[in-house]
């Protein structure tokens, strides 16, 4: 008897502890989920891995005598990967051979100008002719050289009234468009992106962040502070961009990491922007949530805070991928602004980052630079990742039916994938199966497309049953007045008869 009691007690204890254990596992879920996506309700849904680590490049494997020291930026052209090794004042060129990367050159000086060496270079770019551009930050210049490192020209502090001449010119990020124009971000410059023509002349700023203040700030500063206090406080200045990337259509993608986290969800912060030639943000946002990275984060965790996009890269199919240093994650968005996947973690294991600084792509593969680990992680898409790209490419090319089949394959791997439901729904709509399309759009909570499919469906149903609808309408319109008339007549007759009997 006693033994049974003991078992019973043990059982009860287990039952009491089990939910606690589950709760613990759940609260830890953020770190254990590597690849995920958000569903319609903003819930994090675990998903199959879209990318897998192919290799991690360290200084040792490359045969470098001095190891990399706080590298700041990556650049890819063809099979070459350029690494801006900031701490060692040099640029490394790695060349891809199959799955491996071999060191194929070290650029640490430029011939025919002074100074010949670099001082904390923080970005590198290469144009179609092979000319190399280096943002040579502490030498206050952007150097352009040919592929044999002969000096061509440099881009220095603009001698223009719009540029504050007291500030030193510290270029931090550069991109070069297809016509050879150079766009640069410079520390201390908050008027936007500095723009140079191909011949090296400064032609102004584009895409300035708007200065931001609210009414209360204004009232407080104007009426409740003394002149001295005001002078010591920061003035209302627009924020600087964090990083820029130029896509194949010469649109500049810029990321922004200075914002209040409350501005994120209402899409005021706009951490990712697509800037056209006159400086307007034309990023398409057709999802319920704007592209801001993580929608929520764990309170009191070490990495508490919103996603901060340090760099962005745009694939050839206009899918853009931003790297977040707060949580060490990568976020992929399609051209409509819908999140395709998110993955990553903070840590020391393969596929996790301590301080992700830069991202680049070579075809569909991704390279992520970690400035603390001095390593470059190369990711290659899994079957799941490839299917997603294939389906969206097919859709963009107008091959709607193939695209639907590919989306069905995606659904086999991840039944929670909203975009797949929408893709299949669109294809069914084109095949005039409106009822099926409505079913899929409903599963994806896509109101607009559902409404569109429903309109066609309703038209067909009405046309098919027009006879019955007319009869029903006629009944509704005719029967009540007729019944009313009959009742009224009867009542009148009855009243007349009654009056007749009483009179008699």
């Amino acid at each position: 008897m006693k033994r049974y009691l003991r078992w019973l007690a043990l059982g009860i204890a287990a039952m009491l502890l089990l939910p606690a254990c589950c709760a613990l596992a759940e609260s830890d879920g953020f770190s254990s989920v590597y690849t995920y996506n958000y569903d319609y309700w903003g819930e994090m849904r675990e998903s199959p891995d879209a990318y897998r680590v192919q290799t991690v490049i360290y200084s040792g494997a490359l045969g470098l005598e001095t190891p990399m020291n706080r590298p700041q930026s990556l650049f890819v052209l063809g099979d070459d990967l350029y690494v801006c090794d900031t701490g060692n004042n040099r640029i490394l060129r790695l060349t891809r051979e199959g799955d491996d990367f071999k060191l194929s050159g070290i650029i640490d000086s430029v011939h025919g100008t002074s100074p010949e060496t670099f001082s904390t270079p923080s970005d590198v770019a290469v144009d179609k002719e092979g000319n190399i551009y280096v943002a040579d930050t502490n030498n206050n210049r952007i150097v352009m050289m040919d592929k044999d490192r002969n000096f061509i020209r440099d881009y220095v502090k603009p001698e223009d009234t719009t540029f504050d001449q007291n500030l030193s010119f510290l270029p931090s990020k550069i991109v070069v468009d297809s016509c050879g124009r150079v766009f640069a971000l410079a520390t201390n410059v908050n008027k936007g992106i500095v723009k140079y023509e191909a011949d090296g002349t400064f032609t102004g700023f584009i895409g300035a962040n708007k200065a931001k203040y609210d009414m209360w700030d204004y009232i407080w500063k104007s009426f409740f502070t003394t002149k001295e206090q005001r002078a010591s406080q920061a003035s209302f200045v627009p924020t600087e961009y964090e990083n820029i990337y130029i896509d194949r259509d010469d649109f500049i993608y810029a990321t922004n990491t200075v914002f209040s986290e409350y501005d994120l969800k209402w899409d005021i912060a706009k951490p990712i922007r697509r800037i056209n030639s006159i400086g307007n943000d034309i990023l398409i946002k057709n999802d319920k949530y704007p592209p801001i990275g993580d929608l929520y984060w764990v309170e009191q965790s070490l990495d508490y805070g919103p996603s901060k996009f340090r760099d962005i890269t745009v694939l050839d199919n206009d899918i853009y991928i931003a790297v977040d240093s707060t949580h060490g994650k990568l976020f992929g968005y399609d051209p409509q602004g819908i999140m395709l996947w998110a993955f990553g973690s903070k840590g020391n294991f393969e596929g996790a980052f301590l301080s992700a600084r830069s991202v680049e792509h070579m075809g569909l593969d991704l390279m992520v630079l970690d400035q603390n680990e001095n390593s470059i992680t190369v990711f290659t898409p899994t079957e799941y990742g490839r299917l997603i790209y294939q389906a969206s490419d097919e859709y963009l090319r107008g091959e709607y039916d193939q695209s639907a089949d590919t989306w069905r394959e995606v659904l086999k791997l991840n039944a929670n994938y909203n975009l797949a439901f929408i893709g299949i729904g669109r294809s069914l709509m084109r095949q005039e199966d409106y009822e099926g399309a409505m079913r899929y759009f409903k599963m994806a909570h896509d109101r607009e497309n559902y409404g569109r499919a429903y309109r066609y469906y309703r038209k067909i149903v009405v046309e098919r049953n027009i006879v019955w609808i007319v009869i029903a309408a006629a009944c509704l319109l005719i029967v009540p007045p007729v019944v009313g008339f009959i009742k009224k007549t009867r009542a009148e007759v009855a009243a007349y008869e009654q009056r007749g009997t009483t009179a008699r």
């Binding site: 309700w41 409903k442 559902y450 409404g451 569109r452 429903y454 309703r458």
Partner: protein, 229 residues
């Protein structure tokens, strides 16, 4: 033409239950008159005894049922209710509680400032004011399945009509039941909202004190049990 006139002269002779039922039906039907003639209607509702508490309860219950049906059955194009997370009791309570607290607060304020209404009258008036919501929202559920997202304006217009109508009726009703001028009613509605907040605050303070007091006795009991063993 009141319901009493419509009944036969020898109503007392008819069995009492039947008469009660007749009266209940008449007071329900009176809801339809009230929403189209708010000023006369609410005056008669209270002063000519043409409404009944039973009908008021019915309207309140129907209102809650309509609300739940709306959450559950409206087409997803027009409502973002995460149906998997909804607790209908919680949702109903979050409507019912403010409703009753507002009635209470209005009553306590208006008795201080020569309002004529009893609590019973205020409650009845507020319940009768919910009738348009019931009458419009139920057909709206059906309509939501017949129109598409592009035609959402029909839906939203009707939805706002139902709510504005209700608010207007509540305003008219409170005005008649207390015999106030429109301006005074408006001011009192603002004060009523403040009053409701005060009531909620007091209730919270009361319960926190109560739980403290209970906690004291529980710990006293534990201490005694601990000493005894």
């Amino acid at each position: 033409m009141s319901s009493a006139e419509r009944l036969p002269a020898d109503a007392a002779a008819v069995n009492a239950r039947g008469a009660g039922w007749q009266r209940y039906k008449a007071t329900l039907r009176y809801g339809l008159y009230v929403i189209t003639h708010p000023f006369d209607g609410f005056w008669d509702l209270v002063h000519e005894k043409r409404g009944s508490l039973a009908a008021a309860h019915t309207f309140l219950a129907l209102f809650l049922i309509t609300y739940v049906l709306k959450l559950m059955l409206t087409n997803f194009q027009f409502i973002t209710a995460p149906i998997q997370y909804i607790n209908i009791y919680e949702r109903c309570a979050s409507l019912l509680l403010p409703f009753l607290v507002l009635c209470l607060s209005n009553w306590s304020l208006s008795t201080l400032f020569d309002g004529k209404g009893h609590f019973r009258d205020i409650y009845m008036v507020m319940c009768y004011a919910l009738v348009p919501y019931i009458l419009i929202q139920v057909p709206l559920i059906l309509l939501s399945h017949m129109i598409s997202f592009d035609e959402a304006s029909y839906y939203t217009v009707l939805e706002s009509v139902s709510i504005i109508w209700c608010l207007f009726l509540a305003f008219a009703g409170l005005m008649q039941v207390h015999d106030y001028s429109p301006g005074k009613t408006l001011i009192f509605i603002v004060f009523t909202i403040f009053g409701a907040m005060v009531i909620l605050f007091l209730v919270l303070v009361f319960f926190s004190l109560l739980s403290d007091a209970a906690g004291y006795f529980v710990s006293l009991y534990r201490e005694i049990v601990f000493r005894l063993h």
